[in-house]
Subunit: 266 residues, 2 copies
Amino acid sequence: MGRRMGLDGAKVHSVFALERPDAAGDFLFVCEHASNKFPAPFGALGLDAATRRAHVAWDPGALGLARGLAERLDGTLIHANASRLLYDLNRPPHSPGAMPAKSELHDIPGNAAVTPAERLKRTETFYLPFVAALHAEVARRLAMGRRPVIVTIHSFTPVYFGQPRAVEFGIIHDADPSYARAIHAAAQAQGGLDARLNEPYSASDGVTHTLRHLATPYDLDHAMLEVRNDLIATPEDERRMADRLAPVLRAALNELQRGRHRADAR
Amino acid sequence: MGRRMGLDGAKVHSVFALERPDAAGDFLFVCEHASNKFPAPFGALGLDAATRRAHVAWDPGALGLARGLAERLDGTLIHANASRLLYDLNRPPHSPGAMPAKSELHDIPGNAAVTPAERLKRTETFYLPFVAALHAEVARRLAMGRRPVIVTIHSFTPVYFGQPRAVEFGIIHDADPSYARAIHAAAQAQGGLDARLNEPYSASDGVTHTLRHLATPYDLDHAMLEVRNDLIATPEDERRMADRLAPVLRAALNELQRGRHRADAR
């Protein structure tokens, strides 16, 4: 894994990037589907340019939103630098969804017959370095007496298998629902978005792998955020959504921590 | 992490060792408390030689038993090369038990006031490389279509806080009890050992960190084995225990897999 310092101080890696590593805040943001790049030697998996720009290849808007939240909340961000069609970092290596042959309506030719050797190569290239880096960020904070809050940032398509989706902001949890529920309540209190708990997916759909592996075993507060991608379609929209959601995440965490202080005081 | 090939083909690392990495069997054995070495620059934490040989520093007999099981079951073994008093690899970095100031009746002078910087250094030296290596072994097998069975090997002292312990063989599980129950049943069928489920500890005591982090999130069959250390006090005893337990582990896995085939066939 080559490393160099980027212009903004971020550590740039070949298959993922760690931004604002020395941020002092509570939040550790994760964006597994940040990128629609198809680096050599893997290539474009037989997809045309339009498909490589579409939501099957990545979560449009998620990286911009994640960066906006990390800046506003003094958080650290780790994100993918390659398409989830090469390796979906939110899936374990044996999951068919880690290298899907079909995604929604799209066939992925280069994933039609992934051999075990190819699956191993992509696991070693994309998944292992990303997990090791994220785990190290978690473990270092724990060693220093900090309790990171893990928030994964995703976007979803407004129309799925031909059906429009009304939900605008989904908040999903793994084993411990506490922080997701607090975010949902804070979003309801703020108003303006159709916010729903465990929509458009939930842990039972296998979408919480990152949280299950790196938050739940350490009893860390966590949530997976899903924003409908028509609401974060431009850099200006991403900024507006970060302006809207940063105080929601902060207020929800404050509320959760206040509740624990009250419980401790009893 | 320097690596070199050992005489027996094992990859030797400074703080852990990976033995029989290319074994073809189902089992991935883990021995977090294999060693009572206190490598520089950390040193002996103010302990005398007798304490460094005692069970507070390591699990006597566990490494010999783990090696015997790995050989008999064609498994891979990863084990610590440093005392658990420097870093207990079966604890997360924020746990007081990761670098205990007191262990049973023994004060550990070098752990009396571990600073955050020292905690970070030990976490980076011992815990992160070990977890990364074990996680890579798990992920590579999953990518190749194999489902490793994670078995951690421990020993416990016959007398604890002055009380003798009758249990001889404890089988402990994290979230999924299936394989632990199958081992318990196979040990009961074999006879000859006082075998008990979730004794002398259980997951609620925080002793299943390795399993919780690296087996449960991947839905892998797993168990933590605890053998009373007076039964594995010599190399000959370790061999006899491996002869006894290898068929128990194998029979239990066969039974578990047969049960799943029956369930699938219905």
